[in-house]
Symmetry: C2
Subunit: 291 residues, 2 copies
């Protein structure tokens, strides 16, 4: 059986075809332009293969409520062209196969959960944060995605401000100094006048950002007590991750007992942002078993 994966992002749609062991058989990128053009190319691409099911991890926000009239649509997206585009239905009407649609970060979360379990990790739950252009998170719990009235938006939570960062307003258009407003990639330009790629790992900004991310992880911990945290996205590096672990330990201050943080707060097992592809394959297979 072959299955398909779409990672629908703001700049490109990454399409892949895989087998039941999650091996990538073929893949192709298409630029994200207008919905008609992009989705036609994507559909043409998949029609070359005999895929039995498709997993789609998309930018959003998405309406994922099966009882909603808008189920499977992109909602109030900052990408205006894509607002109210029923991406699930368009793909379904043309491909006639089982499709599972979820958020981009949920796809990555699921991939890390699947691979972790395949490698023998005892995972009953997992929280995946991405820190890139934005900040988001996906949660797997008992094999399912959490989010009742909608999917998580864990980039948009407030944190206690770092004493050396009180002058920075934050860049979230909705909340100023929410987590995304304080630690997303574009904050480097505003704080330091240069892109994150060009910021030294010795720069004190990493301590400030680690302090905020550690609080976000602490919030998730105190809420869900998950089996594992995975931090993905281009902003994350090993030096930063070490600082996050240190701050997390200091902040929690032995209030609860925790696993060894080296294994608990980690980077993705699948390199080069490949987690979502595997997650999508796995979700496609699961969906094909259910339909």
């Amino acid at each position: 059986m072959l299955v398909g994966s779409i990672e629908a992002g703001g700049t490109k749609f990454v399409c892949a075809v895989g087998d039941e062991e999650y091996n990538i058989v073929d893949s192709h990128h298409f630029p994200t332009t207008d919905p008609d053009t992009t989705l036609s190319k994507v559909i043409d691409y998949f029609q070359q293969f005999k895929i039995s099911a498709l997993g789609v991890a998309s930018f959003g926000p998405l309406d994922l409520d099966k009882k909603s009239a808008n189920f499977g649509s992109i909602m109030a997206s900052p990408k205006l062209d894509w607002r109210n585009i029923p991406i699930y239905q368009i793909l379904k009407d043309r491909l006639h196969i089982p499709i599972f649609l979820t958020t981009d970060v949920n796809g990555s979360a699921y991939g890390e959960y699947i691979i972790g379990r395949l490698r023998g990790q005892k995972l009953n739950s997992l929280v995946y944060y991405t820190i890139g252009t934005g900040v988001g998170a996906g949660i797997i719990y008992d094999g399912k995605f959490l989010g009742d009235l909608g999917h998580p938006e864990m980039g948009h939570v407030f944190v206690k401000r770092h004493p050396n960062d009180k002058g920075f307003e934050g860049i979230c258009h909705y909340h100023h100094d929410c987590l995304e407003g304080l630690v997303s990639g574009p904050t480097f330009e505003v704080r330091l006048g240069k892109r994150g790629e060009d910021v030294s790992l010795n720069d004190p900004v990493w301590d400030v950002m680690a302090y905020y991310m550690a609080q976000a992880l602490m919030q998730s911990t105190m809420t869900l007590r998950p089996s594992k945290f995975v931090l993905g996205g281009s902003v994350v590096n090993d030096t930063f991750l070490k600082k996050v672990r240190q701050q997390y330990k200091l902040l929690i201050n032995d209030y609860i007992s925790l696993p060894s943080l080296e294994d608990y707060i980690v980077r993705p097992l699948v390199e080069n942002n490949g987690s979502a592809t595997i997650g999508n394959f796995a979700l496609a297979i699961k969906q094909s078993q259910q339909e």
Copy 2:
């Protein structure tokens, strides 16, 4: 069928016997002294009745991991006498009936979930916060309690400080200005030199506290998107709740669409802290069906 309920608190154990429609048939309070004395009295009390199952909502922290050697024990409690007391096993060995043990606030959460559903509310999930001597929360999701490596400890999360409250250190012994350190009942004495019961509803402290509670609800929202929030505990009053709703709306700033807040962020349906009793009855009945 009769079932039993224990609300095990730091000052008293509230015991009740109920029927399958959650009517209280009998109830009795015992002071919380040493474990031997208190638990003997509780067991003697229940042995007067032919109860088929028992629900216990206890102070903690509790080990609720069924695979743990300490399953059903009170762990590192501030009540030193009660540390490492295997409350589940002691009750089980003497009463020989199905017992469901959970945290105090989980019991209340479950009661509100059950009663809400009985009254026709569409609840797939519910978060119950209590603000009293401490701050805690319980989460029901798809009919089950959330918490993988342990139960939630949502009082111990950090929030952005209110501009008029920057001088206050917070009273949590572990974290100073975590949520509990900023909004629990005993903060009134430290901030204002008088007990919460004696603080005017016009005092600006309520705005400060509402700002923090609104952030906690926002964190839960962005994580779980629950069907409903219930706020219990002696600190909560209608004036305060209105302020929490206002701040919550201001902070979220239409980033996501929300139900009408008057129905979304509410006080308990069951008055006089009675939610836990009903929750315990319902959990006892559920447990008796499973064993």
